[in-house]
């Protein structure tokens, strides 16, 4: 099974791809030919000046030192790294779509129509009444959703200062609540890994603005008591926020709106297979129930003339804006194309296969997997081994390891999400890599990885002595 990693073979010592700056820089006298007076300009600019062939080789070599979903399995838990269909790139590259955001609505009917169609599809998939595409990432969607909830409470004269978040939630939930000015109340997980209703009763009250919940949660467990959870939060006067990071497991099987959620964000770069680009761009559309729609960011898009045209409008009590323009448009186009490609049955089947794969892989690995039954992901425990070391050793076996040491409710967690795109043989390979690494010697784990572009990297040293630019490397 061990893949021959032609692209990942270690370079001979000292001959890795140099920085562009090390290949040569040029200093330009800016003032020599400037149409501006000297006091408005800098004296000089120093940057690399590679030829186009040198540029092509540099970035091609860099690309080859990089794991990607097109290169192999990428089972990072909660990240939903699934295959990105190629045709969506071509759809998004349509030059007719690449217009300026300040175009009049009359001259931008095409973009408005696609925005409207995607809004409608997302609303249907989430069981929501209204959707905005403006937030440029999942965390931006969280902030949008919480600001909408805050505006709703303020509009109704509710003075609420707290957001309740399960301890196992994504870190963005906590940071988002704080960014919106809320105090965070952390909710401990129950013995079964789910929300403990008694603890929830104790945590919510007159100060509760919202509960932020991921369902299935971050160890792949469906919150079976979701109706009771919703009642408890609503009875206290709070709103229920759905973190869409794990929506892939629910597609066509359950809708946050039907479960009592009032506001949610969609991670279209996860659920709808838009490329994650090494860390972005993503997009984080937000859906809300009718009561919250007047607070959504401006502008929204609606039909006119009985569906013949489209226009922008400002919601009555809008929170304003969360992105300078319309959000990450190219990502939105790709999400639309993906949803259209799958349709009802394809979306439901994606969830079915993602859940099948997670359960199959959990069955095949030798590590303990607490809790269950699982949906799309599971948190195995490396027990008395160091999860990070096991992960590094997995790299040597030709796979990308899972998310490690998170969530904290599972000790030495290896949070694994294969998604629907891996077939049985690929899952068997993954399981074998898991099992070989887990059973390996301490020496082998300490020495790992040894077959990658770099051997184990000193991350502590990087933080202790920050060198964040080639300028900071001068003299080394």
């Amino acid at each position: 099974m061990i893949h021959d990693q032609a692209n990942y073979e270690r370079e001979a010592e000292g001959v890795r791809e140099p920085l562009l700056s090390e290949k040569g820089q040029e200093t330009v006298d800016v003032r020599e030919d400037s149409p501006l007076p000297d006091d408005l300009t800098r004296e000089e600019l120093t940057l690399p000046n590679p030829s186009e062939p040198e540029t092509a080789r540099h970035y091609t070599r860099l690309s080859q030192m990089n794991w990607a979903i097109d290169a192999g399995p990428y089972p990072l838990g909660s990240c939903t790294m699934k295959y990105n269909p190629k045709f969506t790139e071509d759809v998004a590259a349509d030059p007719n779509a690449a217009i300026h955001p300040d175009r009049s609505a009359r001259s931008a009917q095409g973009n408005l129509e696609l925005q409207y169609r995607l809004q409608e599809a997302l609303a249907e998939i989430g069981g929501m009444d209204a959707v905005t595409l403006q937030p440029p990432a999942g965390a931006a969607g969280e902030l949008t959703g919480i600001l909408v909830a805050k505006a709703y409470h303020e509009h109704h004269g509710n003075d609420r200062s707290e957001v309740v978040i399960p301890a196992s939630a994504h870190g963005t939930n906590f940071a988002t609540a704080a960014t919106a000015g809320y105090d965070v109340v952390e909710l401990p997980s129950g013995d079964d890994g789910r929300v403990d209703l008694e603890a929830l009763e104790a945590a919510v009250g007159d100060d509760t603005a919202a509960l932020m919940l991921t369902n299935p949660n971050t160890v792949g467990l469906f919150e079976r008591d979701i109706t009771e959870v919703a009642d408890i939060v609503h009875d206290a006067g709070g709103l229920l926020y759905y973190d869409g990071a794990n929506l892939n497991a629910l597609l066509g099987r359950g809708r946050p709106g039907d479960m009592g959620f009032d506001v949610m964000h969609y991670n279209v770069h996860k659920t709808f297979a838009t490329p994650h680009g090494g860390g972005g761009p993503g997009a984080g559309p937000v859906g809300v129930v009718d009561e919250l729609a007047p607070f959504l960011p401006t502008p929204r898009v609606r039909e006119t003339d009985g569906g013949k045209g489209y226009e922008r409008f400002e919601p009555e009590h809008t929170i304003g804006k969360v992105h300078g323009f319309a959000g990450n448009w190219l990502v939105a186009i790709k999400a639309y194309a993906y949803i259209a490609r799958l349709g009802d049955e394809g979306l439901a089947d994606a969830a079915a296969k993602a859940v099948l794969n997670a359960n199959y892989l959990a069955e095949r690995i030798d590590l303990d997997v607490p809790f269950g039954p699982f949906h799309h992901e599971f948190a195995a425990t490396a027990g008395d081994r160091d999860a990070a070391d096991v992960a590094k050793r997995m790299l040597d076996f030709g796979v990308h390891p899972p998310t490690t040491k998170w969530p904290e409710m599972v000790p030495e967690a290896m949070l694994t999400e294969p998604t629907e795109i891996e077939g049985r043989s690929s899952l068997d390979d993954l399981a074998e890599a898991f099992n070989l690494a887990y059973a390996d010697t301490d020496e082998a784990l300490d020495a790992a990885p040894s077959r990658t572009a770099a051997s184990r990297i000193d991350q502590v040293g990087a933080a202790r002595n920050p060198r964040l630019s080639w300028q900071a490397l001068d003299g080394e």
């Binding site: 040029e26 600019l45 300040d102 990432a137 761009p281 990450n328 770099a454 184990r456």
Partner: protein, 442 residues
């Protein structure tokens, strides 16, 4: 094969699915779902699956509904020609389909590219540290305000911004300030740039952050940045400067005028005119290193002593610090930063400076030609301009903009009798047409 009726991107045959279910010990896929009946859904969204070809046709048809206009639009979103090599390199699947670099040993390529992007921003801003991207200029400005709140907490809670600021940027800033209990106020402008005397009267201990832009939203190059920086210094306000990556290559260095933080757009390199999709700059002095929002790539060593790169100072970030993080940002604009870096490398310093100088020359030339028409005055402000400038028209501006649109040209109407026109290398060859259209409609 079950694929005909399901997702085309799952490889399972019916036989494989059955074997896997048997291994798990359940009868069918439904048995794996732990969803109570009360909230289960029947899967009917009413979305029909389409083939690739049908979707490409459908979207092409939809996008063709956008009018074919020559755009002279700017005000914060700029298109420059993106060389083909940028698309071809950035579109390599090893970049495009990768994730955040949590396992640096198999992410050295992207990490190095981001390190190089950070380094280019360090050169362009003169500041010590640049992160490897925010969403856009507006959200980067919001993040700068929350930084000011953390590092200038004893100096009050006012964020001072120019009265002429793009409304969308102001609105985003307000949302970030809302959570930090900061209040946004404006200072006056005089003929398109900051009224520094009025600003001196307004500055005081209550100001946590002082924001200026160059070029301004009207395309004016700010002439007294150093004086604004001195005012910020005297009152211990964080001096935040907004700009963009092309302008920074020729304008006076932000570090030289005392900027503590530079925000703005880097998407003016590498991105097409993508309906406002952006790439936010965030650079600052070393003093705020541990308060920087977003991702940072640092140089380190691997076990063999070779230089290697890794995400660093992650204890600032949301996945570790949770509610005490410096920002909630997680997914950023890494791939767009890669595109900007490739574009900058392709131009080199000569090409960048030439592009920026053309932004000054073309704007001056076009303003001069429009000024020659009866019923129009341009530029409205007696300043040096970068890419764009305001035009005063005798007739109502919205009507003039509509008439120009009917002639095939898009410009901004920004007031009752004010238009704004933006020229870059993309539309510089179409200025004859624009001038003729102006002549026609005025």
């Amino acid at each position: 094969m079950s694929r005909a009726n399901g997702t085309p991107y799952a490889p399972h045959t019916d036989e494989e699915t059955a074997a896997m279910l048997a291994e798990i010990g359940v009868d069918d896929e439904e048995a794996l779902f732990d969803i109570p009946d009360a909230v289960a859904f029947d899967g009917e969204f009413g979305i029909d699956p389409r083939t690739e070809r049908e979707i490409r046709d459908e979207c092409a048809r939809i996008f063709a509904r956008n009018d074919d206009l020559t755009e002279f639009l700017g005000r914060g979103h700029y298109g420059h020609y993106v060389p083909s090599v940028v698309d071809h390199l950035a579109d390599r699947a090893e970049f495009l389909t990768s994730y955040t670099q949590y396992q640096p040993e198999v992410s050295q390529g992207f990490l190095q590219a981001l390190f190089e992007y950070q380094s280019m921003l360090v050169e362009l801003t003169g500041l010590d540290v640049a992160n490897c991207s925010m969403y856009d200029a507006a959200t980067a400005l919001g993040e700068a305000a929350t930084l000011a709140d953390r590092v200038r907490s004893t100096s009050g809670d006012t964020v001072l911004v120019p009265e002429q600021l793009r409304e969308g940027k102001r609105a985003v800033l307000e949302n970030y300030c809302d959570g930090a209990d900061l209040t946004v106020e404006t200072y006056p402008m005089a003929d398109g740039t900051a009224d520094v005397d009025a600003l001196a009267d307004r500055a005081g201990d209550d100001v946590a952050m002082l924001y200026a832009e160059s070029p301004t939203v009207r395309g004016c190059i700010e002439e007294r940045l150093a004086a604004i920086g001195d005012l910020a210094d005297e009152t211990d306000a964080l001096f935040v400067l907004g700009s963009d990556v092309v302008a920074l290559s020729v304008l006076e260095s932000p570090a030289a005028v005392g900027a503590d933080v530079v925000v703005g757009e880097a998407g003016s390199l590498g991105l097409p005119t993508a309906y406002g999709m952006g790439l936010g700059i965030f650079a600052c002095s070393d003093d705020f290193l541990r308060q920087v929002p977003g991702r940072l790539v640092g140089a380190s060593e691997d076990a063999d002593g070779d230089r290697a790169y890794t995400l660093t100072l992650q204890t600032r970030e949301q996945h570790i610090r949770k509610e005490r993080a410096t920002s909630n940002i997680c997914t950023n604009q890494a791939w767009v930063a890669l595109r900007a870096a490739i574009h900058a490398a392709t131009l080199g310093p000569d090409g960048l400076v030439d592009l920026a100088n053309d932004c000054v020359r073309e704007a001056a030339d076009l303003a001069d030609r429009i000024d020659g028409l009866s019923g129009a005055k341009a530029p409205v402000h007696d300043r040096h301009h970068f890419r764009e400038f305001a035009v005063r028209v005798d007739q109502p501006a919205p009507a003039v903009a509509e008439d120009l649109e009917a002639e095939g040209f898009a410009v901004h109407a920004i007031g009752d009798h004010l238009l704004q026109v933006c020229v870059t290398d993309l539309n510089a060859g179409k200025t004859d047409g624009l001038v003729a259209a102006f002549e026609e409609v005025l």
